[in-house]
Amino acid sequence: MPRQLLRDGRVVADDWRYLDDAGDDVPASAVGLILTFERWLADKATWRAASGRLGVVLSPVHKVEQLAPDLSRFDLIAAEFPGPSEGRGYSQGRLLRERYQFKGELRATGYVRRDQVFFLARCGFNSFELPAGEMAGARKAFHTFSAEYQPSNDAGLAFKLQRR
């Protein structure tokens, strides 16, 4: 059974595959492929020319700037959260959306739970790989807070607090 994930607020079957999941066999083109960062770097020209949808994993130590010139080739970026204290992905998400105008799927992978999704969404993430038991809680968690103090990707408010 394909992985379930929360995308744009709905639980859906994942239509992407991590390349490692499938060994080196490149599956049918209907399934998007998510490359490791290293694999992308090692063979950019081939992947650029390949048909089909392409995604890449961004780990906390990778720099968004390294991907920037090639962003238009990607339909998905999966930022990795190795554990509950990892926080670099939040900055990476905002940079991708706000500075580099990335319009594709921005996915949180790794340690992702309902308690993070409110903040992740505000940093531009729209897709979340969650344990099955977290799906229902996570859908509600988008509404944890009904207001916010900062302008951000999802709100676009100016800090001058026009809200008031």
Binding site: S85, G87, L120, C123, S146, Y149
Partner: protein
């Protein structure tokens, strides 16, 4: 003071609901210890030696009398009848039950208080000068800026999982009463080239295992850019700060390893890209925030001289426990939380309620927490100080020692904290017992003693004129002594005088340090300045010349 609007209220209420659900999931076994730890820490809840410890935020140290009454009521109902005021202007409860914490938070929310981001690796409570708005030497009241930072940093989506905790202090006067040079970021209100007000921004200060004085990142920042600049500093830190080693994760280590020039270059480069985005603080917003901190309705009074009273005890108290006020006829009054037999910074429920009543009667209903762990009634009419003193004295809140040796800063130590190596409260007690002669204390003059029970330095020992650090030596509590530290605008780190000393020998060690000072000082020279002039050597020689008599 700042008052919540509907949105602020909604946010704290929603936070209570969120934390109630997180606690329920933990108690139901849906979250394991480690998962819950990451969540509870973002809400000020530690699991301590005896029980959970809950740290409640007091933004920049400002409380209304109604809030202080609720703090007292919480101490009585959920704790053992007292609370502990901290060096970062917060209050800690040492004995709440985990399952009661959501209810405590709900009671706090009802008076516009919370425990949001009082622990964990996020932006903590912004601290400030406890004399803000009333001190004659002030360029501008820093509190509106503190509130602007409080709002920007509350639930900041990008900076909730930083490499380590992050503390900001803001001051608006040349004399630094907020220890801003030992904060992750210090914000100083300064005058710009055309006389306009803006900010000097420092970064990389901190205590703990590796004490470092903050360095200037930017000499002058136009004020509308405060938040975008802070955001740039935080983004560089969030992406570049070390996460592989907890003891090297603070921003001070990043600044140190990059060097201030390279750190500055990165911050400025980031800032250039975001400075004109949505974070600009416009003048209307500055004015709106300023309107919450306008002066109270002072009466037209002349300065009088209450210290000419015949009562010598009152005169001493007035001299040490009150401070100059910029409005004629008024005085700022310290409510001392340093008493020989009480842990520094502790106040009972009854004391909190009494102080709230006194704030209503004498101080426009406001109370402040100082970073030296005392309380302050900021706006007291000089002619009422005598009756106020009598009431405070009866309640054990008038120890006339502000700024002297026994006005010690002290962490909770081994008695409460699971991190501590050694007790600090009982050492404070020993020092109090030894130095109970006020004539001697007053003769010594300004003297800052700070004590921490471990390397984490919650008692700021590195920046004490005399610093005392608890260390574990073969399972016994020993104490390392430093001298020459200072926390103000001329901040410096103390130097270790030599091998650590046993608990019982701490008072005698201090007595020997002070003997050298008394012999060698020049007229009107402070202990700190004598140490700076002479160096550690003569002090060290005296302390270790002979064993301390048993």
């Amino acid at each position: 003071m700042y008052r919540y609007d509907a949105m602020d209220r909604t946010l704290v209420d929603e936070r209570v609901a969120q934390f109630r659900d997180q606690t329920r999931r933990f108690l139901a076994g849906e979250l394991n210890e480690d998962e819950f730890r990451h969540l509870r820490l973002r809400n000020g809840l530690y699991i301590q030696r005896h029980a959970p410890m809950l740290r409640v935020a007091i933004p920049y140290g400002l409380l209304s009398s109604a809030q202080l009454r609720v703090l007292g009521a919480i101490a009585r109902r959920y704790d053992r009848g007292y609370g502990h005021f901290t060096t970062r202007q917060n209050i800690q409860y040492n004995w709440p039950k985990l399952e009661d914490v959501p209810d405590i938070l709900a009671e706090l929310a009802a008076v516009e208080m919370h425990a949001i981001q009082t622990s964990g690796n996020c932006i903590r409570n912004t601290t400030s000068d406890h004399l803000a708005g009333i001190t004659p030497d002030e360029l501008e009241d820093p509190r509106p800026w503190c509130e602007i930072i409080r709002q920007w940093s509350t639930f900041h989506p990008e900076f909730t999982y930083l490499p380590r905790k992050f503390k900001i202090a803001v001051t608006g006067a040349p004399q630094d009463r907020a220890a801003s040079l030992v904060h992750d970021v210090g914000v100083h209100i300064v005058r710009g080239p055309n006389g306009e007000h803006g900010f000097e921004i420092l970064a990389g200060g901190g205590l703990g295992r590796t004490p470092i004085i903050g360095q200037v990142v930017r000499e002058f920042l136009p004020r509308e850019h405060l938040l975008s600049y802070l955001e740039a500093v935080l983004r560089v830190y969030n992406l570049e700060g070390r996460r592989d080693n907890l003891t090297k994760a603070r921003i001070k280590i990043l600044v140190k390893s990059l060097g201030i020039e390279e750190f500055r270059r990165r911050v400025e480069a980031e800032w250039e890209l975001i400075r004109d985005g949505g974070l600009r603080v416009d003048e209307a917003e500055v004015a709106r925030m300023g309107s919450f901190f306008t002066p109270p309705a002072y009466r037209k009074l002349d300065d009088i001289e209450p210290a000419s009273s015949k009562d010598a005890a009152f005169r001493a108290w007035y001299r040490y426990n009150t401070a100059e006020h910029k409005v004629p006829g008024y005085r700022a009054v310290y409510v001392s939380l340093k008493k020989a037999d009480v842990a520094p910074g502790d106040a009972t429920d009854a004391q909190m309620e009494l102080i709230a009543d006194l704030a209503d009667a004498y101080g426009f209903g406001e109370v402040r927490v100082t970073h030296t762990q005392n309380l302050l009634l900021a706006d007291v009419e000089q002619e009422k100080t005598f009756e106020l003193w009598r009431t405070l004295q009866a309640a054990g809140l008038a120890t006339p020692n502000i700024g002297t040796l026994t006005d010690m800063i002290c962490c909770p130590g081994l008695d409460f904290c699971s991190l501590a190596n050694a007790g600090s409260i009982d050492v404070a007690k020993l020092i109090n017992e030894r130095f109970d002669d006020y004539d001697y204390l007053y003769d010594l003059g300004e003297l800052d003693v700070k004590m921490s029970g471990c390397m984490n330095a919650c008692g700021h020992h590195h920046v004490g004129n005399i610093g005392i650090l608890g260390v574990d030596k073969g399972g016994e509590e020993w104490y390392q002594i430093t001298i020459g530290g200072a926390a103000g605008a001329d901040a410096s780190l103390g130097s270790v005088i030599g091998p650590s000393v046993a608990k019982a020998d701490v008072p005698e060690t201090i007595a020997r340090l002070l003997a050298v000072y008394v012999e060698q000082r020049r007229p009107d020279e402070r202990f700190l300045d004598t140490v700076r002039r002479l160096g550690v050597k003569p002090f060290k020689e005296r302390v270790y010349a002979a064993p301390v008599a048993a």
